[in-house]
């Protein structure tokens, strides 16, 4: 499954786990997904560990993780070798210039999709924290841990009192 996920694995994971294999219900999937988003770090990796551990304990988690990471890792290592060896070739660097411009575009679309519901809600503090996190990391170039530790407690406190 891991190798079919261009630009993100989760939609494929849902199709395979819920619709084809029926290893989990839609609710279980959503709940596991919420948990893996709640945790820091790569979401899909977290998802595979949570799913695997529910299925077969430590062994399940390790197997799920290896299955998710193994094949893509092999492919990307081949690409890494090619890049380190031939990255200076004019044609290749031109192609990569095009692809990296497009890759940024995809990321901007992700941001827009995430931001839409947040900014449409009236009277919410959420956009303020999003802007502060953006400014701290992108404009001020502050280290992520500082920005996170500075903003997270305040943001969570607002969420706590706002309900």
């Amino acid at each position: 499954m891991s190798t079919s996920g261009f630009g993100g694995v989760l939609p494929w994971a849902r199709r395979a786990l819920v619709e084809q294999k029926r290893w989990m219900t839609t609710e279980e999937f959503n709940e596991t997904f919420a948990l893996s988003q709640f945790l820091p770090g790569p979401n899909v990796i977290n998802f595979s560990v949570v799913f695997g551990s529910r299925f077969g304990g430590v062994a399940g988690a390790v197997v799920a993780l290896a299955g998710l990471l193994g094949p893509p890792l092999i492919i990307v290592m081949v690409l890494a070798i090619l890049y380190e060896r031939y990255g200076d070739i004019e044609a290749l660097s031109r192609i990569l210039a095009g692809v990296s411009a497009a890759a940024v575009g995809l990321l901007i679309a992700v941001v827009a999709k995430m931001a839409a519901p947040m900014f449409l809600k009236r009277w919410s503090s959420a956009p303020v924290f999003a802007l502060l996190a953006f400014a701290g990391v992108a404009l001020m170039h502050w280290p992520l841990p500082y920005v996170f530790l500075g903003l997270a407690p305040v943001s969570v406190a607002f969420a706590w009192f706002k309900r």
Binding site: L39, G41, V49, R54, A103, F129, S155
Partner: protein
């Protein structure tokens, strides 16, 4: 900083992973800051290239850390980088998965989750900003970025085709 590169890799990625709310994309600016500015392992352009390669490859986005690791210290480097990026959070995920049901409905959990959403949005937006500055050197590249964003938002076209078109445009020498 006379640290061994492998020690730096392991330390940075392990620390980074714990603050990456919103997944690998939220961690991009910090990876960029460390790899390009602080450690000077690579140029802006190389970083943008690696992000592009990671996006073109199938599998989870976090795979970019393997590329950075390989660039710094070969196969060992990529192994160390992946292990450091995934190890701490996987352990956390495993532990939390067992106790999650108990506080699923707890108010503090809902508050933490709601408080994290805007931060992860801000961080991912920062990723887009940092990468755009590294990848878009002229007006044509900016146009490709804008067109891709529009296509991804308003159509259901497979990103792979966008990459093919953008790669050909790049090859033609416009970007």
């Amino acid at each position: 900083m006379n640290q061994h590169p492998l020690t730096s890799l392991a330390g940075y990625f392990a620390l980074l992973s714990l603050f990456a709310v919103g997944g690998a994309n939220a961690a991009i600016p910090e990876m960029h800051r460390v790899a390009v500015n602080v450690m000077q392992w690579m140029s802006d352009r190389q970083f943008a290239d690696m992000y592009a390669i990671a996006q073109m490859s199938p599998g989870p986005n976090v795979i970019i850390v393997a590329l950075i690791g390989y660039h710094v210290a070969g196969f060992t480097g990529s192994g160390v980088a992946i292990a450091a990026m995934c190890g701490p959070t996987c352990t956390l995920a495993f532990v939390v998965a067992r106790t999650w049901d108990r506080f699923k409905e707890a108010r503090w959990r809902v508050a933490i989750q709601a408080g994290m959403v805007p931060l992860s949005l801000g961080l991912i937006a920062a990723s887009a900003f940092v990468l755009a500055r590294a990848a878009d050197h002229n007006v044509y590249a900016l146009l490709v970025t804008a067109a891709t964003a529009a296509a991804a938002l308003f159509t259901r076209v497979n990103p792979l085709w966008i990459f093919v078109v953008a790669g050909l445009l790049g090859l033609s020498g416009w970007l």
